[in-house]
Subunit: 204 residues, 2 copies
């Protein structure tokens, strides 16, 4: 009986998923072949098919991994003492992802595939709900601690943040001159203003 | 020599474009045939090809018409005495368009086609620039008249509004439960808050 090495197993899975993300971001889901992923990962097709029965299984695993990373990150942010600072840090990560060509193309590719494939759509909708719940917990916690002051009901404030996050990814894909990092200071000022985050008055 | 009736000409063009918009919103650009547009418009294919050599010419005319309508509307808003109210009215129109299934699908279809076709992309980029310039004129005018107070530099405030507008259209396409009309009051409060629009303090 062959003993399976769990560390090696996880490492190979990770290698294949990282290669798949590079290929998907470069060529899109539909124009990426499993051969291209094998070549990028430096694994045989036999090895790839040992982990994933087909390309769609790889796409679903990539979306699942992205969602799981978001959940872990929001979970970490919720442990912070200053939840308003945690929220601003989350927006920094959004700007950082939007500025990263590969990450941005992958996220937009997932969004497009979600409209075409029901299974990817369902996973993406679950990721969207998870993000909304995470932002709700962050904002609610910050409000309870007096770190933010909500000028609109909590669920509307969350939806506004979701609008802003979506809009940032849209802008970079529409406007070649849009530089996410260049918007950071203004975005922080505006969000601080909306949430009346202590340390800066709305007039600052 | 046949005398062309300019009113009849404009009316037929308008009929074909309206029919094309219905078809494009229903089936997407690629899945709409010129036959389907003829059928929807109640015109012969000879008549349609008299005005448009091919489907792409119709697509470009639709995008051009949308852009021209936006330019006219922003031009009207710029004539108003209260430019901050005009800006809030513009956001109402955005929410209204986002809530209108046909308009929304058409706008998203144009955005998707813009990534696939360079000519549609160029027209769409021009529309984007026109919108940014219109918002800049509105915000700048409102600031000069003391109707808004900008907490960030003008160009960043405009980019933030563009982020919000994009994000609204994205949200309705991602989240089936997102109701643009239901966000109106909160969105107005947030935008008033950001722009320190007189009549409401940031804390209101």
């Amino acid at each position: 009986m062959r003993i399976r090495d769990p560390d090696k197993h996880a490492l190979q899975l990770e290698t294949i998923l990282e290669a798949a993300k590079i290929c998907f971001a470069r060529s899109g889901f539909h124009w990426t072949s499993t051969e291209a992923i094998c070549s990028e990962a430096g694994v045989s097709s036999g090895k790839l098919f040992h982990y994933f029965p087909n390309k769609k299984a790889i796409i679903l695993a990539v979306v699942h991994q992205q969602t799981s990373q978001t959940a872990t990150y929001i979970g970490e942010l919720l442990q912070r003492a200053d939840l308003s600072a945690a929220l601003l840090e989350f927006l920094d990560v959004v700007l950082h992802l939007a500025a990263d060509g590969q990450e941005r193309r992958l996220i937009l590719e997932i969004a497009a595939e979600a409209t075409r494939d029901d299974d990817v759509g369902a996973l993406n909708a679950a990721a969207d709900t998870l993000l909304a719940k995470g932002l709700t917990a962050l904002l609610n916690g910050a409000a309870e601690r007096g770190q933010v002051k909500l000028v609109v009901p909590l669920e509307h404030a969350v939806r506004f943040l979701m609008i802003v996050i979506d809009g940032i990814f849209n802008r970079v894909s529409i406007d070649a001159g849009f530089d996410p990092a260049g918007e950071r200071d203004s975005l922080r000022t505006i969000i601080r203003n909306i949430l009346c985050i202590s340390g800066e008055t709305p007039d600052a």
